[in-house]
Amino acid sequence: VSTAALDRVGLERETLARWLAWSGVALGALAFYLALPPVTARSPVVPVVVGGIGIVAGGIGLREGAGRRLGIGAMAAGALGIGLGVLATRSEVASLEQVFVWSALIAATLRAATPLTLAALGGIISERSGVVNIGLEGMLLMGAFFGFLGADKLEHWAWGIVCGVVAGAGLALVHAFVSIHLRADQIVSGTAVNFLALGITGYFFIEVYTDQGTPGEVSNIPSISIPGIRDLEFVGRAIGDMHLLIWVALVFVVLAHLLLFRTPAGLRLRAVGEHPKAADTVGISVYLTRYVAVVVSGALAGLGGVYLSNGITHSFNENLSAGRGFIALAAVIFGRWRPVAAFVACLLFGFTEALALRLPGAYGEDAAWTTLFRALPYVVTLVVVAGVVGRSIPPAAVGRPYVKQ
């Protein structure tokens, strides 16, 4: 593209390149979408052509200066769209229609994203105060077990929430003490509380439920349905009948945003994470702020865990959290330590998880390779972390213990 031509339409070369690369990403998504219901293109040519154009757009964008990351990302998105699209054209229309009931898929995405969102909000609050919380995984697990135990033994889901939140916050307190007061390496300490959670939940799981597993019937978290919305055709099935904790998570996203960016408390929290010495000088207690932030993050992750066991799986098993705490951490980074953006990332990961659970159904039970779909959320997380991480800058003092002078 000649610079003169660009000048005439008043466009910067880089803007055009970036625009091209983003349309490459969109074309990659479109390539997959066209092969799915309701369009359900049956010829593999469709995704190949559309995705191919996406790759070319990404390639041109890369050459014209869209930046290496975006350009390569667009080309990867195009290739991924081709791969998934061709896979979809090879499976039965009936089973595709069974998997890609979009309203149900949206509902499943929101469910899967809720534990991630709550944990990610916790991660944001903790890291904004300057404490890395690798222990989110363990706090989710504590919430999952004790949330289930509480709902089972105290016979009400509300007690389950209380128990799960307290358990998550309790584990966070250990992490806070070791990494704030004892100034241990925060990553080592986080890993330690992850192990601790595995040991404690595993121990009490066997102690309480022996090898019978958890009972099928416990007091479940209720759904909140909105009368007007529930009866709508598509939206009703997607969001008309959602669990209480999904609503809570949505509200918390907004609250966390307001807290961080619109209140004095949020400003103090961020100050402690960016420049603890300056915060200390103006009279903000660095230790107290960090303690509160870490414990709150544990409570949030614990709440996410409660929803995981009581809302999604309806049972508990050892290591139920299965890496979700780390996926939430990836969402924190992807969202650049901002609640709303992290929530969007959680939706992406939640969608992947919902898809990974449903896709094997499209290929029949016999197809052994569909086991690989279960790795999909982890692959997507890996790709996302690799793709965006260099562009996001963490709070300046994150991971550094503060020594009061």
């Binding site: 990351r69 690798i134 250990v174 070791v178 990494s179 007061h181 004892l182 100034r183 241990a184 390496d185 990553i187 080592v188 300490s189 890993t191 330690a192 509380v193 992850n194 192990f195 601790l196 595995l198 040991g199 404690i200 595993g202 121990y203 009490f204 066997i206 102690e207 022996t210 090898d211 299965a322 890496g323 780390f326 951490l329 990836a330 980074i333 016999d366 197809a367 052994a368 390779w369 086991t371 690989l372 279960r374 790795a375 982890y378 692959v379 997380t381 890996l382 972390v385 690799a386 793709g387 991480v389 260099g390 550094r400 020594v403």
Partner: protein, 425 residues
């Protein structure tokens, strides 16, 4: 360490203890200060606290720990008598104070089997740590090595035994290195945090294995259609057993591979340019960069070498005593994670990793279901969770002894850096 408190002259500049020091720098300060006492205290405290958990849930901790101790096989050493053993490569027999074929001896073989693997998974964490990287992907790298060892070990029939073993071991180590190398490249090029990437790689490796060896998978055994396990490793690829029954998990020569790896680790870290660069990056990446060291290159190499050790661990497990890998083995394997505790308790040094691998090998074997007396735990699987809890406590207390050092430093005994600064210029 018994020197008196350093006297600071008025106007003397405080010795530069970096405040926001990296994990590796902190480690160095600790090693100078704590010596061997701190890790031993850490382990003892963790075991005591683990006992409290047992007591709190209404079991008898003394009985449990006695069961664990008996299970470790260490009692073999104090069951002294008059026995004889055969010398290698001959029929000659010589007098020996311990019974080579007692039950305690068998237990000790099991402990040492686990020790060999743990040395390698521990080194996988330690090597990366010396470069300032926290490799919690040892489990996935172990899987990568194990899959390759199984695949090569169960194919290529008719190969010379030495070649077959070498082929399988080298391929497994390289597979582990490649798997860890992904995280290394991502760290080096785009700065993706290795903790997240290695955890994701663990899960990807796990599901890949469930696919490969699961029902209908490409590497599932051909003999039993409904058994989701791999083929058996062929006779020619099995590591020779030098103590005990080769068919009942006797002690194989993988122990010497692990000990060799310890020596190699020490030499590379302390006596080579690569080790110097890795440590420099671990202490302070910025300073290393100004010194002309490529930080990216060292991040990649450190991860790849770490993965090499973990891949080796997978190889000696598969070729030494497991001989096959199944669906449930993959789902329940945690040996790579124990490597984290091994490395940190061992202070990321060669000798330390060796000793703490022995401690954790004994702990894992002692808390294995078959070793727990029924009167101690009604459900013996509990003991496995006890050992997990003890590992977690070890990691937590490793954090805590920074407090001890801090108080120590405060009380005037300037450690390491301080002493050097106090010497006349």
């Amino acid at each position: 360490l018994t020197e008196g408190p350093t006297v600071h002259q008025p106007g003397e500049v405080e010795p530069p203890i970096p405040e926001s020091d990296t994990a590796a720098a902190k480690l160095a300060r600790w090693q100078k200060a704590g010596g061997v006492v701190a890790p031993v205290m850490t382990a003892v405290l963790a075991f005591l606290a683990g006992g409290l958990v047992v007591a709190a849930t209404g079991h008898n901790p003394i009985e449990v720990y006695r069961g664990v101790w008996n299970g470790t096989g260490f009692r073999w050493f104090y069951e002294v008598g008059s026995y004889e053993i055969g010398l290698p490569f001959s029929d000659a027999k010589v007098w020996f104070p311990w019974d080579p074929s007692s039950r305690a001896g068998e237990d000790l073989q099991q402990t040492l089997l686990l020790t060999a693997t743990l040395i390698l998974t521990g080194l996988a964490v330690a090597f990366a740590f010396r470069c300032g990287l926290f490799n919690i992907g040892g489990q996935g790298q172990y899987f990568a090595g194990a899959y390759f060892a199984i695949w090569i070990g169960s194919n290529f029939a008719g190969m010379n035994s030495f070649l077959h073993i070498t082929f399988a071991v080298v391929a497994a180590a390289l597979a582990g290195a490649a798997w860890a190398g992904i995280a290394g490249i991502l760290k080096a090029t785009v700065g993706a945090h290795e903790v997240i990437t290695t955890i994701m790689l663990n899960w990807i490796a796990l599901y890949t294995g469930l696919y490969l060896f699961g029902q209908g998978g490409p590497l599932q055994n051909e003999l039993q259609e409904f058994s989701p396990t791999s083929d058996e490793v062929l006779e020619s690829a099995r590591l020779p057993v030098f103590w005990g029954d080769p068919f009942l998990q006797g002690l194989h020569v993988g122990l010497f591979i692990a000990l060799g790896a310890l020596v190699a680790f020490w030499i590379v870290i302390n006596r080579t340019t690569l080790g110097y660069e890795v440590r420099a990056v671990g202490f302070n990446p910025e300073a290393a960069r100004y010194g002309g060291i490529s930080v990216a290159r060292n991040y990649f190499l450190a991860m790849a070498i770490a993965g090499l050790f973990a891949g080796l661990a997978g190889a000696i497990d598969m070729l030494g005593w497991r001989f096959s890998i199944g669906f449930s083995d993959i789902q329940s394997s945690t040996i790579g994670f124990v490597g984290i505790a091994v490395a940190l308790l061992g202070r990321n040094t060669a000798l330390g990793v060796g000793l703490s691998a022995l401690v954790f090998g004994a702990l894992l074997n002692g808390t294995a279901t078959r070793n727990i007396p029924p009167e101690a735990f009604d459900i013996p699987e509990q003991a496995g969770n006890l050992s997990l809890t003890i590992q977690a406590l070890v990691l937590l207390f490793i954090g805590a002894d920074i407090l001890i050092l801090y108080l120590w430093a405060k009380s005037g005994q300037r450690i390491g850096v301080g002493r050097r600064a106090a010497a006349p210029a």
